[in-house]
């Protein structure tokens, strides 16, 4: 039985078709599994392996390398505070310490109601609005403890915050078309053109 729900299974197969080799779909399919489940569970990795013609051990080996894949459940909102150099100079460590107190969890922890997971991040590339905070990979631009608490308050009470989808949904924009011309078709077409022009040249 498929772990992916029918709609997700169909999307998974469309993703695999975009790549010259199915294994290349490993990261996109792990993202897709997180979109469905909120994290990357063992059953999903078995199915990603089947779709990419690898083994679930290989999928786990790959997925565990990357920071964005959570192999254990996380909160609806994954809150990341950057403390790298530009944010460090702007008080990133202090904001992170505030976030720990405010959320009541240490870095890496998830709140009891599974709403928030707190992470310390490497540079997220928003260094002119430091210290940088992301929620589910969206820049929220809350650089002060007060603004941070205000945002957390909203996320605590609101069921839906339109500009921050729940954890796992990375891109709300999907590809609208499949491949129009496979690489091998292009290669064959060009070979034909080249052969025809060399025939012309020699004839």
């Amino acid at each position: 039985m498929s772990h992916f729900h029918p709609e997700f299974r169909q999307r998974a197969e469309e993703i695999v078709a975009l790549y010259p080799h199915p294994r290349s779909a490993t990261l996109p399919l792990c993202h897709l599994a997180q979109e469905q489940d909120g994290y990357l569970c063992a059953d999903a990795m078995v199915e990603v392996a089947e779709l990419t013609q690898t083994t679930s051990a290989e999928v786990r080996g790959t997925a565990s390398f990357y920071d964005l894949f959570h192999l254990e459940p996380v909160g609806t909102y994954v809150v990341g505070v950057c403390t790298n150099i530009a944010c460090l100079l702007a008080g990133g460590l202090e904001l992170l310490a505030h976030a720990e107190i405010s959320l009541g969890v240490a870095v890496g922890g998830t709140t009891p109601e599974n709403r928030f997971t707190l992470e310390e991040c490497e540079c997220l590339g928003d260094c002119d609005v430091a210290p940088c905070v992301q929620v589910n990979n969206r820049f929220v631009r809350t650089t002060t403890p007060e603004a941070f608490d205000e945002l957390i308050g909203r996320l605590r009470t609101d069921d839906v915050v339109s500009d921050i989808p729940r954890h796992g949904l990375l891109s709300r924009v999907r590809r609208s078309v499949g491949l129009e011309v496979k690489p091998e078709v292009i290669a064959a077409e060009r070979a034909r053109v080249a052969a025809a022009s060399s025939d012309q040249a020699s004839g």
Binding site: R23, L27, F65, Y66, I85, R175, E180, P183
Partner: protein, 434 residues
């Protein structure tokens, strides 16, 4: 005096409302360069890029035209766009992907035509959710507009572009690690040789890997000619370049300015650029080109923003990020945090990098938090010397990729420029600067 009269080559739409949409792109001359390029031969397009002397904007500064010319002829070849921008304090590619994604897509199609590749991949850093959405939207709209897919603008040239999201790993910015991750594996940089993906790249096929900013320059170069681009800047550093300015400045941000004709002082102090330091604080140090680059002291502020000019002074322009460290900022803490970054991001293949990064981070942490010993300074330098024998610049390569040899930069810079701070930390039981 800053020289600010150069055209905005890649940031002309950044300030526009809806500059990321197809409608606004077409209104402002979008996809005209592609039409022009498709009427030229692929070789003629490549010659323009060669004439521009465009240096890669990712960090290594390899000439784009030369990279292109190295692409081995083969029926199946690939173009991969490196949008995995993760160098600390670098945020210019994200700006281009969010604010002008069609410019990137147009640059990709023109480059694919010049190189005659069969498929292109745009790799976008996973943490850039908005960038991903904007680039995917641009690709979708470009297909609908006939600028992608089969028979582009009736030229007979076909190209598919796949947007691929990363998943959080700095090392994937290394082009061979990027190819590994695109193949669905851990982001391990590949053992050299082969030295260049242009010979053996994605799935073993010849592949060109170019940075987002590099390719965003291509439409302008095609429209205005490579010579017009090369007329800007000086020496090997032609054109304009994006500089991401952060740290203790009044106006942090991304600025597109002409290469070489401006200095670090211009970038930091010009009212139209950085606008001076926060609270007019004195500058302790400037990180001139990302976490991997050795620091500049205030005496080097008049060095020109050019590749060779910065290299002559023992550092590198790298990714184009400039971080200003103020007189009251703790150098030990800065070096510790940068080293912690490398500790987190080392892929773990090579011993000097994997073990060295952790060891150095632990030593720096104990100095910062009050457990430092007098011999720790020599120990830091000794461990650094094991990663980069001789501690020279450019660093010796003891590892598969340049990440390992980048680790000592901040440590040796901090010790040579601010040794008294290290001694004070050790004497007074830790950091006293707050």
């Amino acid at each position: 005096m800053a020289k600010l009269d150069a055209p905005q080559i890649v940031t002309s739409r950044v300030g526009l409302d809806g500059g990321h949409t197809l409608a606004r792109y077409l209104e402002t001359g979008g996809y005209e360069a592609l039409k022009k390029a498709l009427a030229m031969t692929p070789g003629a397009v490549a010659e323009e890029v060669d004439a521009a002397s465009l240096l890669g904007r990712g960090g290594a500064g390899f000439p784009a035209g030369r990279k292109w010319s190295m692409l081995k002829k083969d029926p199946v070849t690939y173009l991969v766009v490196n949008g995995d921008e993760s160098e600390p304090a670098t945020f210019k590619d994200r700006l281009l992907m969010e604010k002008d994604p069609h410019q990137l897509v147009e640059g990709v199609v023109i480059s694919a035509w010049a190189l005659q590749v069969t498929t292109a991949f745009i790799f976008v850093r996973g943490e850039f959710a908005l960038g991903l959405e904007r680039v995917q939207t641009a690709v979708n709209d470009a297909y609908a507009h006939g600028a992608l897919g089969r028979d582009i603008f009736g030229s007979g040239f076909s190209l598919d572009v796949v947007v691929h999201a990363g998943a959080g790993a700095y090392i994937c910015g290394d082009e061979t690690a990027l190819l590994e991750t695109l193949e669905g594996k851990r982001g391990f940089p590949r053992i050299k040789p082969p030295f260049y993906p242009a010979a053996i790249g994605l799935y073993g096929q010849p592949t060109v890997v170019n940075n987002v900013e590099t390719l965003s320059n291509i439409p302008w170069i095609v429209l205005n000619g490579g010579r017009a681009f090369a007329a800007l800047g000086k020496g090997r550093s032609t054109g304009t370049r994006l500089f991401a300015l952060s740290g203790r400045v009044r106006r942090p941000g991304v600025y597109e300015i002409e290469m070489v004709h401006n200095t670090f002082r211009d970038l930091i102090y010009d009212p139209a650029l950085g606008g001076g330091t926060t609270d007019d604080v004195a500058i302790k140090a400037v990180i001139p080109g990302g976490a991997s680059s050795p620091w500049f002291g205030p005496e080097l502020l008049d060095v020109a923003l050019g590749q060779d000019e910065v290299a002559e002074h023992g550092s590198m322009l790298g990714s184009g990020s400039v971080v200003v460290i103020g007189a009251n900022d703790c150098a030990v803490r800065a070096a510790w945090r940068l080293t912690k970054f490398f500790r987190h991001e080392t892929c773990g293949q090579c011993t000097p990098c994997r073990e060295g990064a952790g060891w150095l981070e632990r030593i720096l942490h104990r100095i910062e938090t009050g457990g430092g010993r007098l011999e720790d300074i020599d120990l830091l330098l000794d461990v650094c010397d094991n990663i980069v024998p001789g501690l020279g610049w450019p660093p010796q390569q003891t590892t598969i990729c340049p990440l390992g040899p980048s680790i000592p930069s901040s440590i040796t810079s901090a010790i040579s420029m601010c040794k008294d701070e290290f001694l004070a930390h050790i004497e007074h039981g830790g950091c006293t600067s707050g």
